[in-house]
Amino acid sequence: MAFLEISNVTKRFGGLLAVNDVSLTVDENQIVGLIGPNGAGKSTLFATIAGYYKPDGGSIKFCGDEIGGLPPEAVAQKGIARTFQIVRPFGTLSVLENVMVGAFLRDKNRKTAQSWAEEVLEFMGLADKRNAVGTALTIADKKRLELARAYATKPRFLLLDEVMAGLTPKEAQEAVGLIRKINSQGITVFVVEHVMEVVMPISHHVVVLDGGRLIASGPPEDVAQNEAVIKAYLGERYYAANERS
């Protein structure tokens, strides 16, 4: 039984086929990268898995259970947490309180939820900012907070939507370290990115979307050499990145 199995998922908005008959599987304990140019349907596929869109066709199975079409809260309860591309901290709550909201999913007791949230902040390197208000953080810390909040729900599967976007190279490297650290806790991670330099080295497996279709899938080095992928859109950027390093 696959950890996450997406079969023939289609999502359309009016006449636009945003996700067109996509099938892919994600294995447990891996970091899987989902890449593709703007408008490829990455975010739509992502939001469909997380329950924000109902698929128009196909099925999404998580550990054998059909989750396609379930509302986001039910998906979260099943152990799938997500972050948002544009960060959305609960503005009037402190960093600690933000993370506690996530912690309450598995534990309604205030005291134990708080100590778990504090543990999460420590793990994420946010402990010294626990009393800051969510909106007062830097963009990098806000992204960290999003991660911490999602992590606090004790997910088995973490969906990260462009966590690197807007970060400086140094901050992006720290984020990569954090993702690896989360993955080493036995959490499967699904990363949506268009910054190749970050996705390629951390992913065990990469899937490529273009125009709503799956055009390649495999280990990063194979995908990087895939003619279709390079020619289609990714080529120059990735080569440039390789030459630099």
Binding site: P72, E73, A76, Q77, A81, R88, F90, K108, T153
Partner: protein, 315 residues
């Protein structure tokens, strides 16, 4: 933070003890009446605050629940011969049930559309009660005088009403305090801040909005029953007006939404303002309190959106 919290507790305790002793030193019925009204409106604004302040679902139809409470105990007593205390509890339960029926469809609406829906509901219920003969219609219902005492919820002097209002307010504040510290308070605020982000963390927002609505409606109804027993006469104009819905909302906003003490502070300023302007200016000045309300709200909205509580906590 801890220091501020301790200070808050000490101040609250001192104020509460002073309020307990108040009837020993004051005998003027006007001041009693004023204090009772402050307690009542603090209770109502606090009830509104659970849904509107903590959860961010601004309702301008909350008079409906106040009216349900007032009518439940009154009709229970006058038409069915039920003890008003029981009627008060029944009113709370009925208000919760009605609030869930109202909330289920309206909570699908977001932002302004929810507000508009609550205004419409308030008006519908007003018209229903105006035309419902069994409930007294537009004429209303006068409560009969029965043997005064705790059991009958009727008293000659004002002091017992004073203590009952203070007790009800205390219970409401205690429940709000418990709620704010439990996961419910966190969930309510998460829903207020960002509904989609809240859902991503496994919060069933429809469910928790209904929970907030239920608490809110219950305490509005309790306030309504108390009002009916205190004034001894109710009609749609006095217990279901749109103005009441707006007033409880304004009091909470003035004091500070999403805080425990905010509605109390708001009521302690607004109610004396209204009563004094009415007393000093008589009939010709009867609308002046509303003018002052309006001005105050404008000043608060521009200068301190977090309300007067914001001046204390520095947010």
């Amino acid at each position: 933070m801890q220091l501020l919290k301790n200070k808050f507790f000490i101040i609250s305790a001192v104020v509460w003890l002073a309020l307990l002793a108040f009837p020993l030193f004051v005998s003027s019925p006007f001041y009693f009446h004023l204090m009772i009204l402050i307690f009542l409106y603090a209770l109502l604004a606090g009830a509104w605050n659970i849904l509107g302040g903590y959860t961010g679902q601004v309702s301008l139809g909350h008079a409906v629940f106040f009216g349900i409470g007032a009518y439940s105990s009154t009709l229970g007593l006058v038409n069915l011969g039920i003890n008003p205390w029981l009627g008060m509890l029944a009113g709370g339960v009925i208000a919760v049930i009605i609030s869930l029926i109202i909330g289920y469809p309206t909570f699908r609406l977001r932002g302004h559309y929810f507000v508009i829906a609550t205004i419409a509901l308030g008006e519908i219920v007003f018209v229903l009660f105006t035309n419902w003969e069994w409930a007294g219609g537009a004429v209303g219902k006068t409560l009969p005088f029965i043997e005064p005492g705790l059991k009958s919820f009727q008293f000659g002097p004002k002091a017992p009403y004073y203590y009952i209002a203070l007790s009800l307010l205390t219970i409401q504040l205690a429940v709000t305090y418990w709620m704010q510290r439990s996961y419910l308070g966190y969930y309510f605020q998460a829903i207020r801040e960002d509904q989609d982000a809240a859902r991503s963390l496994g919060i069933d927002i429809s469910h928790y909005k209904l929970v907030a609505m239920g608490f809110s409606a219950f305490f509005m109804a309790i306030g309504g029953s108390f009002y009916a027993q205190y004034v001894m006469y109710i009609d749609p104009e006095s217990v279901l007006p749109m103005m009441l819905s707006i007033q409880v909302c304004l009091i909470a906003i003035l004091g500070g939404v999403g805080t425990i003490a905010g509605p109390v502070i708001g009521a302690a300023i607004m109610i004396p303002l209204a009563e004094y302007s009415r007393a000093l200016l008589g009939g010709s000045g009867s609308a002046l309190d509303l003018v002052i309300y309006g001005l105050l709200i404008m000043i608060i909205a521009v200068a301190k959106p977090s309300g007067l509580m914001g001046l204390i906590t520095g947010k």
